[in-house]
């Protein structure tokens, strides 16, 4: 039995050593990634200057045509992340400030995402490879329930979120294989899709009053003299519970409601996401209202 316990102890030591070694290896791969995702791009970047930075979920990513800003001589980049919540938008902004980005304006898509203060696993995990190398990221995740596991158990974060930052992504990062996430200045255009879901029910959705991460973004902008513009973006006509946007307006009077700027279904790829044509109409409106000068 003694022999067996020594054998098992050896295996446990091997497991720990392997976990530490793999943790180092995977993290090093993500440090090489410059053209895969927006998170890695910002983390591995140096100071940038922007007139406009766009933040939010896919409803920012697919709705703000950054090139239209550039065409007007406004340097802009769309950092909206599909599937992202305000938790990640706030962290992204903090990272930019840490990287000494100079930003004149931040446009935040703030509508459906106001209903959650939870992170989006798929997007939040993009930040986790860097958790030991950034105080900002570490502090941001500190309030999460599984912070200790993620921070202190070697390689745990790569196992837990293996579908996002597992071997496949680490390998592609190591060989620096590019994706289209940074194309079109971060804007991802959608096309009309015959199977696009043109119905949506948000009747049970309620904006959280004083959403922690919305307030955080607002105060970061204020502290850094950045003009903060929060907007609601369009949804298709077939939405049950459209009064959600009125509830948002009531809870957050400073958020501009542009939900109804584009209404026709032909401009939507799915109920919550406009096509490229719809996004251009919407962006033109935003430019006209906020950047006419």
């Amino acid at each position: 039995m003694k022999q067996f316990l020594i054998y098992i102890s050896k295996i446990i030591v091997v497991v720990i050593l392997i976990a530490i070694a793999l943790d180092g290896l995977f993290t090093a791969s993500f440090f090489r990634a410059k053209n895969r995702g927006k998170v890695e791009a910002v983390f591995n970047s140096t100071a940038q200057k922007y007139d406009v930075v766009i933040l939010g979920s896919s409803r920012a990513n697919n709705h703000f045509v950054a090139q239209m800003f550039e065409d007007k001589g406004i340097k802009a980049f769309n950092y909206g992340m599909s599937g992202g919540h305000l938790f990640e938008a706030s962290l992204m902004l903090k990272l930019m400030i840490e990287r000494k980005y100079e930003m004149k304006n931040v446009i935040l898509e703030a509508d459906l995402n106001l209903a959650s203060e939870e992170p989006s696993d798929g997007i939040a995990s993009d930040f986790l490879p860097f958790i030991h190398n950034s105080t900002i990221i570490k502090e941001h995740f500190k309030t999460r329930k599984n912070f200790d596991d993620i921070y202190y158990i070697p390689f745990y974060r790569y196992v837990k979120y293996e579908n996002v930052i597992g071997f496949r992504e680490a390998f592609l990062s190591a060989i620096n294989k590019r994706t289209n996430a940074l194309d079109n200045l971060g804007y991802y255009p959608l096309q009309k899709h015959k199977n696009g879901n043109m119905k949506n029910n948000i009747v049970n959705l309620n904006p959280i009053p004083r959403n922690k991460y919305y307030e955080e973004i607002k105060s970061i902008c204020k502290a850094n003299n950045i003009n903060f513009i929060a907007v609601m973006t369009p949804m298709c006509e077939n939405v049950v519970g459209m009064n959600y946007f009125e509830k948002v307006k009531k809870a957050y009077p400073e958020i501009h409601n542009y939900e109804n700027v584009v209404v026709e279904d032909k401009y939507f790829a799915s109920c919550g996401h406009m096509t490229d044509a719809g996004s251009k109409l919407f962006t033109a409106k935003i430019l006209n209202v906020f950047f006419r000068k």
């Binding site: 067996f4 392997i18 293996e162 579908n163």
Partner: protein, 477 residues
Amino acid sequence: MFFNSLAFAIFLPIVFFLYWFVFNKNKSTQNALLIVASYYFYSCWDWRFLFLLVFSTFLDYYTGIQIEKGKSESSRKFWFWLSIIVNLGFLGVFKYYNFFASSFSELVSSAGFKASPILLNVILPVGISFYTFHGLSYVIDIYFKRIKAEYNFVDYSLFVSYFPLLVAGPIERATHLLPEIKVKREFDFEKAKEGICQIIWGLVKKIVIADTCAVYANAIFDNYNTVNSASLILGAVYFAFQIYGDFSGYSDIALGVSKLFGLDLLRNFNYPYFSRDIAEFWRRWHISLSSWFRDYLYIPLGGSKGGLWMKVRNTFIIFVVSGFWHGANWTYIVWGFINAVYFLPLLLSNSNRNNMDAIILKFNFDSAKVIFSILYTFSLICIAWVFFRAKTITDAVLYLKRIITNGEFSSQYLENERYNHELLLLIALFVLVEWYSRAKIEPLSGRYNILKIALAIVAIIAFGTYSDYKEFIYFQF
């Protein structure tokens, strides 16, 4: 509680410690502990079905004794048939009732009559097919006087409910496991070490191979009408490795865990994808089930006695029943039938026992023939797996039809945002490792043991699929 869960990683060391350090006085204390642990293990799924398990155990225990004690043949027959009918009755109600009711209704409707079947809203008790077969083999063996009835209820209960084999086999025989249970187990370092290696290799098969293949196979099977021929072929191959990794991985873990308690279970897999013909495949795949059907169905039906027609008939019966054992769906029945069709030429040419020897390859024409036979057999198996995996027979037929009619063999980006060919290297590596270990139970034991274990752990940690968790496929059977 799954073998690849954190709960099991806590449960196993606790039971191991209690078994060897607290309850190691004699075989009765060892068995009592294993019974408690097994019932706890089973109740983690659904404690209500524990009563069914205990009832089934008691029924076979009691009827076994009554058959042995029976003074007249009619009394022995009574207890024998009581056990068979009740056991199969439970299986029929929980597993097959809804299938028969809806199939009958469809048949009646197709004849122009109106039928609205009464369907039961019951869930399938996990492991019912396995522990029912344990009990059946025990009662049948007593009836035919191959074994003596077991009078110690704890020992008998452990034979039926032993947790490593309770939910997905291997299907044990009283002649094999009961004698092991009847003696006190002494700790054997070499056996325990083998057990650890088998557990780790089982985890590689399940977490690295099966669950990763599942991500791709599901993306292809669920969207088969939009993907090209190359993807469809790869989908069938990925599913072949998914089900092999899943089930043989489970069996490896079960055998390995059991070795930690000093008990050897029946081997269930012997590198089946290196088979040179279908007969050999069935001697290497789910061995405990194949041999069960051979001993308790094929031979009682007359086996190969009684001429060619009887042989063919009996072969078709056991394959179709074996397919049906897997689940109450026509796809499993067709899967069994296809395997019987594959078997037929071997049976007719009397060559079903040709490939009984070990495979040895050299640089000559015979070896090329062997490699071709292996690949050919694997292709046939993959075609049959399409029926096993598809939701309906129509889906399976359309899947296969599209492989032929689509005619595009380019690499394809799947709905799950992955390329169809991404896993090929991993599978090739896995096949190579298994090929070079085919003379052993698993590849990790022997020389450089710790180094090989380290590599397996790297594979489990770095290449495993954890986010898209899948329970073992055979739990549903």
